[in-house]
Assembly symmetry: C2
Homo-oligomer: 261 residues x 2
Amino acid sequence: MKEIKRISILGTGRVANQLARVLFEKGYEIDGIYGRSSMEARKLAEKVNSRVIESISQPIRSDLALVCVSDDAIGEVSAKINERSDAIIAHTSGAVPIYEIPEGLRRAVFYPLQSFSIDKKVVWENVPFCIEAEEDDHLNALGQLADSITEKVFILSSDQRKSLHLAAVFANNFANLMYEYSEELLMSADIDRSILHPLILETANKVLLHRASESRTGPASRGDLETIKAHQKLLGENNSYREVYDLLTREIYNRNHEQKL
Amino acid sequence: MKEIKRISILGTGRVANQLARVLFEKGYEIDGIYGRSSMEARKLAEKVNSRVIESISQPIRSDLALVCVSDDAIGEVSAKINERSDAIIAHTSGAVPIYEIPEGLRRAVFYPLQSFSIDKKVVWENVPFCIEAEEDDHLNALGQLADSITEKVFILSSDQRKSLHLAAVFANNFANLMYEYSEELLMSADIDRSILHPLILETANKVLLHRASESRTGPASRGDLETIKAHQKLLGENNSYREVYDLLTREIYNRNHEQKL
């Protein structure tokens, strides 16, 4: 198996910054940084003792090139990569299938499942990495690389990654919307939003121990129609809160009761 | 102000058990335990060096009686309490207004916002306590008592507590339903559910630092209609997932875009 030692980074955004820096810290050689803005590329190159790649129409001689650009630019950027490149070409997106990288390249995926900011310190050992490649050798090489960063490496197909991305929308975006609603309800009742923080943390921590279905509680789960009616009255009619309340209450109720709402 | 030193507990369930034990540990005298099942009452009484109260038709001579029974039994149980009782009579429910306790008693509320199990160790200093009383003296006494258990004491009216209870349904029950959906999507794609745990914890931890509206991310928030369409295709039509996905996606989208979905 070919071991990955030298890595090029295509992109200068948050993922590019964070990956370049952790790989540099772990002792990998960052061969070069390529970016639309050569000033941004130079800034990142300086941080990781690297140089700017002026053009990717020349073959990339690294062991790995990470395409860390926005989802809709992955196809375009990787299409510019010279086909005679030795490097494994891996994009870092959760939503984009491996085949957006053109055939003929050693295509792969190296996806850290985390939302990054440019500068915030990342606790890398907890970040799940999802890897995919067409050749076993490439997959093994990426697996070894991921192992050096994190304790959590998952081999997922493009289809699986697509499901994962959707599941993350529920667990992250939609759960956060529930927090938004609850904060707004508290605010309108003149209650400090911190009052619910312990419960929010407890609910999240429970899924680490048990399936979420085992932590189902509350009026809908118990079938407590009196309380549900009181909540509906409090929310009023024809508004977003009420629409969401009614749908999710029905969903929970129906999961626990033979007789459906 | 009358200081609370001696406490009776009415009820033998989870809240009764947990409160009796923490109050006993904090040095309060547990005067007596009353329960429908005198065997359960005896069991709890033994744990907190107390005795069984056989009947509450005699005046309660404690400083405080905590009515720790199910929501729909609060009215019935507290109606049996002798009106000549000296004790402050406080129920421990989030959903029930103070006036379910009969007039003529020194009525109050002493509500720990936490879901308890019978035996699991509670980290009391993090548990928010909501207190309410009709007399300032009683409120002060309950505040002092709560201060000795937790760092987080909130004075809330019955109306505020009702809003809080509803907000908790969003932040806890509905967020947990989102975790259920995400686990099911992962399971059907044959992906280990632990893969999303870091993201779930990160999302929950963020609300401790910022308003949830500031942590709004994902395709609906960005207005990424391509990804939304791909998700909808993956979910199929006419099922719960799809219905919830469409509604919550629209809600998030409309919060970030002038042109509504």
